[in-house]
């Protein structure tokens, strides 16, 4: 996106599209990504609140999966997927740090490795969803756990896109030591995804049996 020009005594890297210094456009992009993270956080809170709410109420005693599918989802796949995401994020940050020190090759390798790990996590997430020991209609837990997993799958799909884009852009000379901001922004976003995934892991691990073991009947409101 940028090229270096020596307009005055100090060399400045300018955005090709707007002609502004890349620090200016970078600061703007950074705030924009922070705002997107704020918005996404509200969405994540909506899902977590839904999970905790249904868990605590145990409406009509239907929180747990129905007797035919009485198993909770195994928690280890959630944690494995989170761990892979976490490692991919660390690698991306490491690549960015190297890029700032002039190691373009390191950034390329980090972005490639990160995108491959995120792809593996995405595939793992799909496999986990397809092998849940319950169906979506099997009560409150099934619904809430399924949507935490679906949301994570959507985020991982996006994360693969972003990490691969950083690989492509570094190869094309768009992400450079003089203009590394896009790599940083993607690493920031991956960090947010890790936090969201971690909270999902904690909820699905800690909140299984509802504390409301003697819930009153709420009625079905059926037609």
């Amino acid at each position: 996106m940028s090229d270096t020009t020596t307009n005055s005594s100090v060399a400045r890297t300018l955005s090709a599209t707007t002609g502004e210094p890349v620090e200016v456009t970078g600061a703007r992009d950074k705030l924009g990504v922070w705002m997107i993270i704020v918005s996404c956080t509200t969405g994540t809170i909506a899902l977590l609140v839904s999970y905790a709410y249904l868990w605590s109420l145990n409406v009509n005693g239907a929180w747990a999966p129905t007797p035919g599918h009485a198993n909770w989802a195994p928690v280890w796949p959630f944690w494995v997927i989170f761990t892979v995401m976490f490692i991919a994020t660390l690698i991306m940050w490491n690549g960015y740090r190297g890029l700032r020190n002039g190691k373009v090759g390191g950034m390329k390798s980090a972005a490639l490795l990160s995108s491959l790990l995120l792809l593996a996590a995405f595939v793992g997430q799909i496999v986990q969803i397809a092998t849940f020991p319950f169906g979506p209609a099997d009560g409150g837990y099934a619904s809430a756990a399924l949507w935490l997993a679906i949301a994570n799958a959507i985020w991982l799909f996006m994360a693969v896109f972003l990490a691969t884009a950083i690989f492509n852009r570094t190869r094309a000379g768009r992400v450079t030591p003089e203009n590394p901001s896009h790599a940083r922004l993607v690493a920031m976003f991956l960090t947010y995804l890790c936090v969201a995934a971690f909270l999902g892991c904690v909820f699905t691990t800690v909140m299984q049996d509802s504390p409301n073991t003697n819930s009153p009947p709420f009625g079905t409101f059926s037609q």
């Binding site: 020009t5 307009n7 090709a16 705030l31 009509n60 599918h69 009560g139 837990y141």
Partner: protein
């Protein structure tokens, strides 16, 4: 307010290699290609989904994740296909794909996408220029108001014709729900869309929004969101009001899916627009435009964007999960299988109530913006106005439960939320006080925007006071679900929001269009609508106090008179709005040409030419003073001093003689 100097020296910016003509793929996309692509993709999604669900069901698949077949999932996928296809057809994905591949826009690409030297064609394309997006928002808003207003006329016709049934009950309920949500969407965008996009960047002294491509994305997502909503009327309708409470919505006809897809898409549009506006305001204000020199409208748009950004995802997720309940048979809101209707209501109202402030704050801030221009006085207590705006923004997070007093959810929380709701009237009162303080001892210039201020203060006081009543838990137990509530929120949303927006639009119309809004026909339309509004909703207050419930088709003859009066008032509003629309269209075509500074204002948009040039300013401005430095020092104080001096002088002369 400003002196213009060059900030950036002319510099040669080395460009990426230009491949092909500037704009590339976007040269071939427009509204028509978007429509075709949307319809075709919707059809493909329908056919493929139908094949898959049929195959899964036909194969006798019994694994737990088998897709539920049926109309719900087919319709859902068809609408998703529509949105994806429409956005692909307008060219929205070209940017992300280029970015992914490492092919950045050249300056020539960016200029093409901004519609430079393009003519009217740019209004039908994925154009990134904020001024084009502002005009697109204005037109879309007018269309939505036209549609929502037509539905309002149908509602009032039904309620006014007490001797017969004009529509069947299901269709009547559908037009109630559709009217509500169409008007809510239109009101959310009426200031932030046209004025926020067109005026705010110029007012900040910027060349464009922070993210021009996201700007185009937000308007085209909005346009993509509308057909699913409107099509609900052909598919059983939205029979549960705009709130679409569960589990009624889960049991509703398939038209409900159109509502849900619309809200999910619209929430993306609003989120993107909010990110863009906040970043533009925080990062792109002109040199010298400190926070204490930032125009109050900019604060209003900032506050509104913050609320939209933070709270809209709650509403969006409520609809995503509701859609999931319909299509994947999950049970977030279905009590029979572990879901909770209270969960839906909490998620819904977490945006549902702040949305009122998303609507009213920009309209109020817009009026505060031009009020000093029309009384030629500084804005009274600028800091109180800012405190009022952000007081409302802060308290908007803790008021949603007052919509749930009567649901039985956490009764012990009713009184804390009663207190917080009544508290929010305090920062709102700050804003009214700023209006009154600015007008105090002033000699207003009696033009249409200024007249709107009087109308809005009247409406806001009535809407605000009745709101304090309704926030009171004991009173709400009687008033809940009555026409009194309907009259109250119309006083806030329409009385303060829409009439305020009409004034703000009249003020910025010359800068946006290059011609003044016709003063005579604009005023005739405005005051006709205002008079009709009072007749309609005052009478509705009476019906509510008498005990008439809302959303009913048939009612006791006790309520006949108030409903007849309300219906007559509604027709008067309709006539007034048509006259105002005529004023807009006629002025757009043949209005008096506006000078660079149409009203003698001091904010930055008045320091560039009319019509606004492609890059807004020949050189970026530097701000050296406040936006409302009219008549400082205060001419009245000067006059008082002069009189005092003259009096003292006369007394001395008298004593000497």
């Amino acid at each position: 307010m400003s002196t213009a100097v060059a900030i950036h020296e002319e510099a040669h910016v080395p460009q990426p290699t230009q491949v092909g003509k500037p704009g590339g793929f976007l040269r071939r996309t427009n509204f028509l290609t978007a429509l075709i692509s949307g319809v075709v993709t919707a059809g493909v999604f329908w056919i493929v989904t139908d094949k898959i669900t049929t195959a899964v069901a036909g194969a006798g698949a019994t694994n737990s994740m088998a897709l539920p077949s049926g109309l719900n999932i087919n319709i859902t996928m068809m609408y998703i296909g529509w949105v994806i296809g429409f956005m692909a057809g307008i060219g929205a994905f070209a940017g992300p794909i280029r970015w992914f591949l490492g092919h950045d826009l050249t300056h020539a690409d960016a200029e093409y996408m901004a519609g430079k030297d393009m003519g009217r064609e740019k209004f039908w394309k994925f154009t990134t220029d904020h001024k084009v997006v502002g005009i697109q928002y204005l037109v879309v808003t007018l269309i939505l108001f036209g549609f929502g207003g037509l539905l309002a006329m149908l509602i009032r016709t039904e309620l006014g014709a007490t001797w017969t049934e004009v529509f069947n009950p299901n269709f009547y309920n559908s037009i109630i729900g559709t009217h509500g949500i169409v008007m809510v969407i239109a009101m959310i965008i009426v200031i932030s869309g046209p004025i926020g996009n067109f005026i705010v960047p110029i007012m900040c002294g910027a060349r464009d929004m922070a993210f021009p491509r996201l700007n185009a994305l937000s308007i085209w997502l909005l346009i993509a969101a509308v057909p699913p909503l409107v099509s609900n009327l052909l598919m059983g309708g939205i029979r549960d009001g705009w709130t679409v409470y569960q589990p009624l919505a889960d049991q509703a006809p398939i038209g409900m899916i159109g509502y849900q897809i619309c809200i999910i898409t619209f929430a993306f549009s609003t989120g993107i627009a909010s990110v863009n506006l906040i970043t533009t305001i925080v990062r792109m204000r002109a040199a010298g435009m400190t926070w204490s020199r930032t125009p109050i409208l900019v604060y209003g748009i900032l506050g509104s964007s913050i609320m939209g950004l933070v709270w809209f995802p709650m509403y969006q997720y409520s609809q995503i999960l509701a859609l999931s309940d319909r299509t994947l048979l999950t049970s977030f809101f279905v009590p029979a299988s572990g879901g909770s209707v209270w969960l839906y209501e909490n998620l819904f109202w977490l945006l549902g109530h702040p949305e009122v402030y998303v609507i009213v704050i920009p309209a109020t801030a817009g009026m505060l913006e031009y009020l000093p221009v029309f009384v030629r006085k500084p804005l009274f207590s600028y800091r109180l106005a800012v405190a009022g705006i952000f007081g409302v923004v802060g308290l908007s997070a803790v008021v949603w439960v007052h919509h749930m007093y009567m649901t039985g959810w956490a009764p012990q929380s009713n009184y804390p939320f009663m207190l917080s709701t009544e508290m929010i009237s305090i920062p709102f009162s700050f804003l009214v006080l700023v209006v009154l303080g600015t007008m105090w001892r002033g000699k207003p210039w009696k033009r249409l925007p200024m007249m709107a201020v009087y109308a809005v203060v009247w409406n806001k006081v009535i809407g605000g006071i009745t709101g304090v009543f309704l926030s009171d838990t004991p009173v709400d137990q009687y008033m809940h679900g009555s026409m009194f509530v309907v009259a109250h929120f119309h006083y806030m949303l329409m009385g303060a929001g829409l009439f305020g927006a009409m004034g703000v639009t009249a003020y910025f119309f010359p800068k946006m269009i290059g011609r003044y809004l016709d003063e005579f026909w604009g005023s005739v339309g405005f005051w006709t609508a205002f008079a009709g509004f009072q007749v309609t909703f005052m009478s509705m207050f009476v019906a509510g106090l008498q005990g008439m419930p809302r959303r009913v088709l048939q009612f006791d003859s006790l309520f006949n008179v108030s409903n007849w009066i309300s219906t007559i008032g509604a027709y008067i509003i309709g006539i007034g709005m048509l006259i105002f629309l005529y004023a807009i269209i006629e002025s757009w075509r043949n209005g008096i040409l506006a000078p660079d500074n149409p009203w003698g204002g001091k904010t930055l948009e008045n320091f560039t030419t009319t019509p606004v040039p492609h890059e807004n300013f020949p050189v970026l401005p530097v701000v050296t003073s406040g936006p409302y430095d009219f008549g400082t020092p205060d001419p009245y104080e000067l006059a008082d001093d002069a009189i005092m001096q003259q009096t003292e002088g006369a007394e001395k002369v008298s004593a000497q003689s």
